[in-house]
Subunit: 198 residues, 2 copies
DNA sequence: ACCTGAACACCGTTCAAGT
DNA sequence: ACCTGAACACCGTTCAAGT
């Protein structure tokens, strides 16, 4: 009985791992479960990632957290808005893997093309030298932080209890019916503040 | 030989757990290691946290991610700047526990007093109803995201290799000598953008 | 080169038992 | 009420072995 070569690839392994994490969370990502998903013994993964699970997690965050390149067309504001929205969507698609953001660095070679595009856009916006880097940084920080808040709000265990006090008149707006639409609205509203005024 | 009562408290357990996480990272937080740190058998913790490690992690993030209350004195801008800086410092002090931000929600009762203070400040800033919540949200998102970027930059394994290309003239500034000072500077520069202009 | 199978140290959690 | 000790299923990783 000739054995079929499994034909594992680093890419295929990372995809299978992300599929597990997206569906069941980081804690359920196990070398044995990953092996099962790939139709292979857990130890087969070590041949492609000799440093083991650590190296696998590095590859996963590199895949998930790589910021997209800003588009080439449009004025600087359109490009930055499109970029921010695209980055947000990409992060939310792999929300389960995002804790890795705090744990391992995104390699510079992966972050660089995106940064370059943002710098060019802010240059066109007329910011002076010092402010360009700060602005590119602040924009990325805003997107990342907004994703934290979104993921938290969507997390299980957040009970629909009203805030402990009704003192502030604006708090009624805090728990609207259509959550998705609201996060969208908040995101773009925040962008208005983070982007330079023309 | 009379046995000494260990005198465990939920608070004491959370503190010991945070001490381990701050020093060695989340992955090294183990019920048995935690027991050792407390001079107790691992299983003693279950008496104070019946839902086990999950409940312990909930208590930890509740402690770490609770945003401070904005100060009562000063004009709205001073109060918001002070708040943002204080929150940033608090988060950085427990950087090892921050991955939990993506995993479990911060209870509303914990987040509320801080939110209320921010809303009051933005009201004084003259924002209209709709914008007040958006602004309070955007400010928190910026602080959280900035902390992600800071923690990532400080993370091990980030090699001092120069960016792959020198096309953009501003990139020389990306890797300055005094990292700490630079992150401070960037943080306040970003605040200028996130806060409303007077 | 690519994958398996057995083995080891460690993990979270249970349960009955001690005081 | 508070903690221990033994036990169970599961985990990451090693190593020698198979093809």
């Amino acid at each position: 009985m000739t054995r079929v070569q499994a034909g594992l690839t680093r890419e295929g392994i990372v995809e299978a791992a992300l599929h597990i994490v997206d569906g069941q969370g980081l804690r359920r990502l196990t070398m044995r479960r990953l092996g099962d998903a790939l139709g292979v013994e857990a130890m087969a993964v070590y041949h492609h990632f000799p440093r083991g699970k650590d190296q696998l997690l590095d590859a996963m965050i590199e895949h998930v957290a790589a910021p997209p390149r800003p588009p080439a067309e449009g004025d600087w504001e359109q490009r930055l808005r499109t970029w921010a929205q695209a980055y947000r969507v990409k992060l939310l698609e792999h929300a389960g893997a995002l804790p890795l953001l705090f744990t391992r660095p995104v390699p510079e070679a992966v972050a660089f093309p995106s940064l370059e595009g943002r710098l060019a856009a802010f240059t066109e916006a007329g910011l002076d030298e010092e402010a360009i880097l700060d602005a590119a940084h602040a924009l990325a920080a805003y997107v990342l932080g907004h994703v934290i808040l979104e993921v938290q709000a969507e997390a299980p265990g957040q009970p629909p209890t009203p805030p402990p006090d009704g003192r502030h008149p604006h708090l009624a707006r805090l728990r609207p019916r259509e959550t998705a639409r609201t996060w969208d609205g908040r995101f773009t509203a925040g962008l208005d503040a983070v982007l330079p005024t023309r």
